[in-house]
Symmetry: C2
Subunit: 180 residues, 2 copies
């Protein structure tokens, strides 16, 4: 696979993380594509990658990453950005109240080229802290502590985060495809 | 307009309420159409009505009704069903904690026929009770008290609910279209 891959996002943090994790140079393009209403990141990534390919007509990649709080069933999952944009990380923690703090982060990398689409999934268990902590990262990084660490993603260096993150797990699966 | 209108839903409560409010007989069809990811009921209703018309090829109607809790910005809005399905009305009230209880309900009726699509909007202010109350109605009826009443929608008769509901306001606008 020698062709450049276009990451469909306006989020430069995602471009940076995925270029590092996939060990390739990604171009990026912000295209406003409707996302489907679901808590499932894999569904969002698949549909969006296929829609983006029809427009870009070159290999495209979509990253959809969600945070699921087990006490809330499937919520927010892929709907996390609505929570972050409307109540922020502190608001999410507030809504959780005294509920159990178990959670998981999930990343779906949707890839589409002339041969069709593939989705690579990564998932990591963890917990929600009492309040947001840390300044690094982006999105929900300040309210997710992956299993095996006591730090939130936002308290970690990039290397530390990559050793735990659902994005890194999904990207490792995709690297296998890139090799072949 | 002499043609039957097909309401795109599997929810018989919606069929019943809208037949009554529009004073016409509605047929209904459950079509699994992806809804777009947004808090805005008008966007969902428009896109879904247009997609449904392409399949049904007869006049179609879509009802998207949301509940927005002002302390949560635009949430849940059109995403309400994910909240109800995952944490239930009691869970939503629990997530609200000590926050201000102001809220509004919004209905968008998306209609589409061979002449294109129209959206009719209804909105009603209200508050969220301390816990779910009442057995009537459906959806979030047990956790919404419209301004001007002390009852939740689920504590009202159909007639009472119709005198307050965002669905009734949107339907009144649509009746004007049906007359012409």
């Amino acid at each position: 696979m020698n062709q450049t891959i276009t990451l469909i996002t306006g989020n430069l943090n995602k471009v940076r993380e995925l270029s590092r994790l996939l060990n390739i140079e990604l171009s990026n393009e912000k295209i406003n594509l409707p996302e489907i209403q679901t808590t499932d990141v894999a569904e969002v990534a698949k549909v969006k990658a296929e829609a983006a390919y029809k427009i870009v007509k070159k290999p495209v990649l979509v990253d959809d990453t969600g945070l699921t709080i087990r006490a809330w069933g499937e919520l927010p999952g892929a709907l996390i950005r609505w929570f972050i944009d409307n109540v922020g990380n502190a608001g999410i923690v507030g809504m959780l109240g005294d509920n159990d703090r178990a959670a998981f982060a999930a990343t779906a990398l949707g890839y589409c080229d002339e041969n069709g689409s593939r989705v690579f999934n990564g998932m990591v268990d963890g917990t929600i802290p009492e309040k947001p902590r840390g300044e690094n990262g982006f999105g929900f990084d300040a309210i997710f502590i992956p299993k095996g660490s006591e730090k939130t993603f936002a308290e970690m260096t990039s290397d530390e985060k990559d050793s735990f993150s659902s994005r890194a797990i999904a990207a490792a699966k995709m690297r296998e495809l890139l090799k072949n």
